[in-house]
Subunit: 363 residues, 2 copies
Amino acid sequence: MSLKVGLGNRSYPIHIGHDLLSDTNQLKNAITSQQVMVVTNKTIADIYLQPLLNKLSEIGIKTLDTCILPDGESYKTFDTVNQIFTALLEKGHNRQTQLVALGGGVIGDMTGFAAATYQRGVDFVQIPTTLLSQVDSSVGGKTGVNHPLGKNMIGAFYQPKSVLIDTKSLETLPEREISAGMAEVVKYALLGDESFLGWIEAHAEKLMSLDGPSISHAIARSCRMKAEIVAEDERESGVRALLNLGHTFGHAVESHLGYGQWLHGEAVGLGLLMAADLSWRLGYIEQAEVKRIEILLEALKLPTVIPAEMTEEHFMSYMARDKKVVHQRLRFILLKSVGDAFIADDVPLETLKETLNAQKFGA
Amino acid sequence: MSLKVGLGNRSYPIHIGHDLLSDTNQLKNAITSQQVMVVTNKTIADIYLQPLLNKLSEIGIKTLDTCILPDGESYKTFDTVNQIFTALLEKGHNRQTQLVALGGGVIGDMTGFAAATYQRGVDFVQIPTTLLSQVDSSVGGKTGVNHPLGKNMIGAFYQPKSVLIDTKSLETLPEREISAGMAEVVKYALLGDESFLGWIEAHAEKLMSLDGPSISHAIARSCRMKAEIVAEDERESGVRALLNLGHTFGHAVESHLGYGQWLHGEAVGLGLLMAADLSWRLGYIEQAEVKRIEILLEALKLPTVIPAEMTEEHFMSYMARDKKVVHQRLRFILLKSVGDAFIADDVPLETLKETLNAQKFGA
């Protein structure tokens, strides 16, 4: 199935299907340059690179190069992106080249940033291979890298030419990565669609076992919600900020533990629960709803307690640096109700600290 | 005087005047955030930073930080831009911050790139202090840094919110920098306005001695030509390429000698002459016109011979990596006549080599 991110002359399609990458017509429509560099990491390359290169040769691409990066969020740095630039320059790639991001969110973010900035901008195509990147980072044009002082602090808004989601690639993922992806799926439900939350609860087991129709529906529903929000607010001046539900807390956890200790989705899962807890403490949602979210996260095998080594002070120092700080005030995305998120600029520090110190959420 | 770069909702004004930076109203209109970081280099900081900071305090800017970078094209690297990111993060600057580029083209290009990519984009204002940056790089939104394998290979198209050109700042420049800036002024005349070329010839001496009305006219005419071309073709898919007249040759000289040996404008000046020589060899312009250009460059104290250590092979290897390579063919901007440049994709290699080996141009 296909859907569209509507952004005027920068609109692009998202194609979702099982074994999509074997479909030469799909590849031919997506990859339009005769000069291509596929960017991936070592882990992905072992499984998917050669079959993809074979297909790309089959559709007649003349200059076909690859750039294989080290695997992991700890390598999401400018130095790693610079490896892409060096490879492109060594092979003589010019402005007509097209980059293909084959991998998870880290590969997509770095390849997108390389595309945004190589010779001031070349085309790129996203082929996300993890559930997390399929439902989140491959759509919407946020690209970039981490800085030692903060996550995603360097980057650009830069849209791909198309996104190809092959659900077959999920079959080789560790279960922990499926859980991490499901955290973002739950996020969409919490921020804008309570009935979708009910559907996820009813299908949690099927989703974790990668039942085909279930996982396709979860991806398509998530991508559609993200596409609608991005079309409305590409550069995050308004409603797009809702997509950060759970992320302010989550980024603090990721930064403190060091990128790569918890998966991004795991940190976001905990962040969702903390946002729900804070929403409850501020009187927006019921105690039982915090519990409901906790139970769902547990069913999806996601962590639901703050790492023992993290204190209130740790959270506060990371959050002060977060991009979501506006005019020196902490901004949170909270739940007015389940399925209805909003931006809160005026969270009392005392209530925030209760959430940061909670041994148990919603209690 | 003021003119406008017309780019829809990204349009911006260019203000030109003597002692413009003492005018608090101009600064107030240009710098609209309460959170500002001025980026400059050591050389500029000694002369201009404190007066500017005083004025910015006077107009009531609350958070006012500075970032002082090392001086020179050899520092136009991502590592130097990273110093800006680190300073911004250490001082807690968020997406509402505004960067001010105070300096020449290198500072403008790096600050613009930092603005384009810090937290995926913040506003910036250009205050160019060299003639070269006033007539060229501060207008048009090309930002970026060099890569060891090529000049300006990493960057973004990102427009400033406004450009403030204070001609008083030219008074402290070495003569060599005035010459370098004049090379770009001559470029505009050659590519699109023969009568302007006649005006430059008639005012060469006045321009070199920084006669006020003459230099203001030269800057304004150059900016207006650039603004018109950029408005027509922001991302260089067509007519904007004409602004690269002289640059294919010039970049090869800069790259080969190592950035900073010849000033950019000096390399461009030689490049203009080489482009004229090649245009003559291909039958477009008269031999006498090559000579006319050479005489003008000499009057402006610009180099007019290829550095002795550079061979044909050196040029060829640098030009093959240039962004202006399209589908593996060398693209040159040539002169159909003086004041009328065009894009040539089909230059015979033999004729090109004659220009690269010329002991004397137009002969």
